[in-house]
């Protein structure tokens, strides 16, 4: 064979090898098997009389989820007479959860009724995902609920809810929120008296969404105060999140709880139901001192907003000193919104000087959108504000003042420590041209910041006509060593 042919055959072989799908490349271990061959060996092991060999087959085949026989073989292994094999099959299936089809998930759910506790526990470990999977049809996330589908899911789930192992019950409770039909009420209400507090803790929030408010409240009242304070806290939090008139007696009971964190949450629920009754002191203290869940905070302030203006203003004002910035910001929004005449200057200035940017932003937004409600005295105090974001906005907020007042404000800001603020002030002075403006711009040519020097020079040369150019030229001549002088000279030379 000539060299050309040899080379050509070699290249053909090499190309074919490189084009083989990666899954078929026999790169593992010493021997040269394809994935299909390894799977065939695992299937052989699954037919062995030796349970240990079958268990090995279950573990090995799980590593090849892409092979057609894999899922079928693993599901069949769930019926193996040997518990160790069934346990291994459940773990192997959970390793391949993304590949499981809805019909296969429904078969797998039957393992919740397996006589072996470890099989039931292993299945329960991923029960919420399994329930979701079982609820789907191929390509359809929300298939119609047929009797068959309902039976396939409901029966094992109800069995799991009363399993002797609390961890199985726990995962079954977690899965309840995915069902789109009503389960029988009694087994659900039983969960409120489950001996395991972790299950009651998990159950209350879930049950509030699968039972009606009346059923939920009646069941919880009948169960009596839970001995575990975390469960009572979860209950109070759940009720405060979605208070309904039917839950009022339950909220009233919890509002007298021995634990403060339970009481104030229950009080929040009662306040949301009837804001006109006022904010209880303990809830007020919680708002002043604690970091409150954002959703609850939002609802509480919505309720405050629904109050008549005067009561809303008083309540909001009392929360302006809260420790938490989110609370202060929401209180500020409502407090400002209640005014139809300018609010007290001192109050507005306090908000503008708040440490939290979100509070200052609320005050700035108010001043920008309702300029008629901002007293000039407030605006003239802004140059003293400790925060640059506020001082930077001062001139924009003063846009409706007479020109001379704006110029006075700009003059104050020209002495600011921040170059950005001085630059804004300089531009406003150039625009307004108040008495003495040439001197101000000339002084700015000696500003410590080169950016301000450049801005002042640009205003003089580009926007202030012959007089501006004259002032700049004189400055460059009188101070030839100043860095800005050469820039001015260059500009004057290149001017038309």
């Amino acid at each position: 064979m000539n060299t050309f042919l040899k080379t050509s055959r070699f290249l053909t072989t090499l190309t074919a090898f490189l084009l083989l799908p990666a899954a078929l490349l026999p790169v593992g271990g010493l021997a040269a098997q394809t994935a299909a061959e390894t799977v065939q060996q695992a299937l052989e092991d699954l037919r062995s009389d030796n349970p240990e060999t079958r268990r090995g087959g279950v573990m090995l085949i799980a590593k090849y989820p892409g092979q057609e026989e894999t899922m079928k073989a693993l599901l069949k292994a769930l019926e193996d007479p040997e518990p160790a094999v069934r346990r291994a099959a459940v773990v192997s299936l959970s390793e391949n959860a993304p590949r499981i089809q809805p019909a296969q998930a429904r078969i797998l759910l039957r393992s919740l009724e397996d006589p072996d506790p470890e099989v039931r526990l292993g299945t329960a470990a991923w029960l919420p995902q399994l329930t979701l999977l079982a609820l789907r049809n191929s390509g359809n996330r929300n298939p119609p609920i047929t009797d068959g589908l309902r039976k396939a899911i409901e029966e094992p789930l109800l069995a799991a809810l009363s399993d002797s192992q609390s961890l199985v019950r726990l995962k079954a409770v977690e899965s309840l929120r995915y069902l789109r039909w009503r389960l029988p009420t009694d087994p659900l209400l039983d969960l409120m008296q489950d001996p395991d507090p972790e299950i009651r803790l998990q159950a209350y929030p879930v049950l509030s969404s699968v039972l009606t408010a009346g059923e939920f409240a009646a069941g919880a009242l009948e169960s009596g105060p839970d001995p575990d304070h975390r469960v009572r806290l979860a209950l109070a939090e759940t009720l405060a999140t979605q208070p309904a008139p039917e839950t009022r007696p339950l909220l009233q009971e919890l509002a007298g709880d021995a634990r403060s964190e339970v009481r104030w949450r229950a009080q929040a629920g009662l306040f949301l139901l009837s804001p006109e009754n006022g904010l209880p002191d303990e809830l007020h203290s919680a708002l002043m001192e604690k970091e409150i869940d954002r959703g609850l905070l939002f609802r509480l302030f919505n309720a405050i907003r629904s109050l008549p203006a005067e009561s809303g203003r008083v309540l909001a004002a009392s929360l302006l000193e809260a420790d938490n910035a989110s609370t202060r910001a929401r209180a500020a929004t409502i407090w400002l919104r209640t005014f139809s005449e300018p609010p007290p200057s001192e109050g507005l200035l306090d908000l503008l000087a708040d440490d939290a940017p979100e509070v200052r932003q609320q005050a700035l937004h108010f001043a920008a959108t309702r300029p008629a409600l901002v007293a000039p005295a407030t605006l003239f105090a802004l140059p003293e504000n400790p925060f640059m974001d506020v001082r930077l906005k001062a001139l924009d907020l003063a846009g409706s003042l007479p020109g001379e007042d704006q110029a006075r404000l700009a003059l104050q800001l020209l002495l600011d420590t921040e170059p950005d603020v001085r630059k804004a002030a300089l531009e406003r002075i150039a625009h307004l041209q108040p008495a003495g403006w040439p001197g101000l711009l000339r002084a700015s040519l000696r500003d410590p910041s080169s950016r301000i020097q450049r801005a002042a020079a640009a205003e003089l040369l580009e926007n202030l006509g012959d007089e501006g150019r004259r002032i700049a030229g004189d400055f460059a001549r009188d101070h030839p060593d100043q860095p800005i002088a050469s820039w001015i000279r260059e500009r004057l030379r290149s001017a038309p």
């Binding site: 098997q33 994935a35 092991d45 240990e52 090995l60 773990v91 959970s94 526990l121």
Partner: protein, 332 residues
């Protein structure tokens, strides 16, 4: 240059006044005596990884040991921040910093800090090869390996020239400083109980690498991620579930795995004694089986479930407590 606080005397003073040595009940420490931990986070601390992790662990240490830690860390963005010297213990999660090239100021500050008695704990400072592509992978997988992530090794060895990271043996007292055993394994599935107790975390040990000072004190400690096991929510429940990766075998498995087809890359991981495992993966980045140094082959199995998660959280919390208690006690 930063003027360091003398950390050894500070720590000794704390310990001398602590109930550990005075015999007082732990809850008699006044809040002013609270120890703070410095935590390095690049950018917004609210965006850090496992945000509930360290505060929960510090609360647990304060609850169960005489060390009255404040649950609130002092956040710094750079090791050059003088607040580094406010605590004898600094903590950083490897993924909370994107660029691990330390500036000259940081190198110097950290050197001064470590030489003055400070400790640096780099959580997720060990990332096996298959996790190095993306720092986020190392936040979810805690793979036992005794090789520090190369950039950490390089930078820390530049902080303490002449010193190199060494594997901490399983028998090291850091793993038994406060708790000296694993949580009760009875709740674990039978199939994995022995493996967890005898191989995965024997006597509560873990893969850890340490950089020692010349005096032999641990200055820097690196482990695979453990903060994922510390966090609790306001109800005291663990913040995130944890699964187990265990090695299993069955009759004839050696022969099967030796010949099995693998479609993912393989990589090596280092054991405590320096020997190597060869790990075969299946896409995406999932260790599938392993060839062990003694020639044995085993398959990786993934176990989920509340009982597993509970055990893992208890273990990681005990491990965290042991590490902090050991570091403080050793420093004294």
């Amino acid at each position: 240059m930063t003027q360091p606080l003398p950390l050894f005397p500070l720590l000794c003073l704390f310990l001398l006044s602590s109930p550990l040595l005075t015999g007082q009940a732990p809850d008699t420490l006044a809040p002013d005596d609270e120890l703070r931990v410095v935590q390095l986070v690049e950018g917004d601390p609210l965006q850090r990884n496992h945000p509930a992790g360290l505060p929960s662990l510090l609360s647990e240490i304060a609850r169960s040991t005489p060390f009255a830690f404040s649950p609130d860390p002092v956040f710094i963005q750079s090791f050059a921040d003088p607040r580094l010297f406010e605590s004898p213990v600094a903590y950083v999660n490897f993924a909370d910093r994107s660029d691990w090239e330390l500036s000259a100021a940081e190198l110097e500050a950290l050197r001064t800090y470590l030489n003055s008695g400070g400790f640096l704990f780099i959580d997720a400072g060990i990332n096996s090869e298959f996790l190095r592509e993306d720092a986020r992978l190392g936040q979810r997988h805690s793979f036992a390996d005794w090789e520090v992530t190369p950039v950490i090794a390089e930078q820390m060895e530049a902080v303490l020239p002449g010193r190199t990271f060494e594997a901490l043996p399983r028998s090291h007292p850091i793993f038994q400083g406060f708790y000296n055993r694993l949580p009760d394994p009875e709740s674990l599935p039978e199939a994995i109980r022995d493996y967890v107790v005898n191989e995965k975390w024997p006597r509560g040990s873990y893969s850890a690498m340490a950089l020692h000072t010349e005096s032999g004190r641990i200055a820097v400690l690196a482990t695979p991620i453990i903060a994922l096991g510390w966090g609790r929510d306001r109800f005291g429940r663990w913040s995130s579930p944890i699964s187990f990766r265990v090695r299993e075998s069955a009759e004839g498995m050696d022969e099967r795995l030796r010949a099995a087809a693998s479609s993912g890359p393989s990589f090596e991981s280092r054991r405590e004694d320096g020997s190597r495992d060869i790990i075969y993966t299946q896409p995406p980045h999932v260790p599938a089986w392993v060839q062990e140094p003694d020639g044995r082959w085993r398959v990786f199995r993934y176990y989920h479930g509340p009982e597993i998660s509970e055990f893992a959280h208890q273990f990681y919390t005990r491990l965290g407590v042991n590490i902090f208690v050991y570091l403080l006690a050793e420093g004294a």
